[in-house]
């Protein structure tokens, strides 16, 4: 049940990705201010992604004493997280735009909670490493 739902939403997402302009063919054009707000949300998520990617570079450059494996894990996690944020940015933007055109409720996802948990775990483990003196 969950699997088929997941597959269906994945298929819908891919269809939107291949031809996102199709969004503009259905429903009515929403108030331009709502579209601009949606655009700013998109940009905020994109900045989040860019910041995570930049954080990946920072970890690799500014923690030379950190154990090499740990540093690689931190860097890769941050780079992948940044890429996921960028993907979510455009996916959520398209879905919100479509919901507004159709007059539906805006979509809700678990992505923000997952991101918050991920960043929290990273921050706590980094704090523990600093306290243990593994970074200097």
């Amino acid at each position: 049940m969950i699997l088929t739902d997941g597959l269906r939403s994945l298929r819908a997402a891919v269809r939107l990705w291949v031809s996102p302009a199709r969004v503009h063919e259905e429903g009515a054009t929403p108030d331009y201010r709502f579209s601009l707000a949606n655009e700013r949300t998109f940009l905020a998520w994109l900045r989040t992604g860019l910041a995570l990617v930049g954080g990946g570079f920072a970890v690799d450059q500014f923690l030379p004493r950190l154990h090499e494996g740990l540093r690689l894990i931190f860097t890769v996690v941050l780079l992948v997280g940044g890429a996921l944020c960028a993907l979510r940015a455009v996916n959520h933007w398209v879905r919100c735009e479509r919901a507004m055109r159709r007059g539906e409720d805006l979509p809700v996802t678990r992505f923000p909670s997952a991101l918050a948990l991920g960043v929290g775990v990273l921050a706590v483990s980094m704090a523990v490493l600093v306290l243990l003196g593994r970074t200097d």
Partner: protein, 120 residues
């Protein structure tokens, strides 16, 4: 309308083509913040590449590629910001959104290549 009145009703606004909530301006500033974030990220990436003792073909290629990706990102954002000068800007073209995300993904990928390149 935010004040619950249809356009044209009540007190006439001095400039009807101007959004009292400054939405286009706010959106333009959001674009500016985003290009600044991209620039900061590109500078960090460049610093990473410059740290190599002997930059080889891989480093130079990566630097050029990331420079081009950054330039594309900023150019796209600039075009969108210019479209935002009117009172009622058109919606964000989906192609622009996809291209920006593509640039970000490619930059992250370059970051991955920097990590695993030989001699790192």
């Amino acid at each position: 309308m935010a004040d619950g009145q249809p356009p044209g009703a009540g007190t006439p606004r001095p400039a009807p083509d101007r959004d009292p909530g400054l939405q286009p301006e706010r959106t333009r500033l959001a674009w500016r913040r985003t290009t600044l974030s991209a620039t900061a990220m590109a500078v960090l990436a460049g610093r990473q590449l410059l740290r190599s003792d002997a930059p080889g073909a891989v480093e130079v290629t990566l630097a050029v590629l990331m420079g081009l990706l950054w330039a594309a990102f900023v150019a796209l954002a600039h075009r969108r910001m210019r479209a935002m000068t009117g009172g009622r800007p058109p919606g964000l073209p989906p192609r622009t959104a996809l291209l920006l995300v593509g640039c970000t993904l490619a930059l992250a990928l370059c970051g991955g290549v920097i990590l695993v390149r030989p001699g790192h």
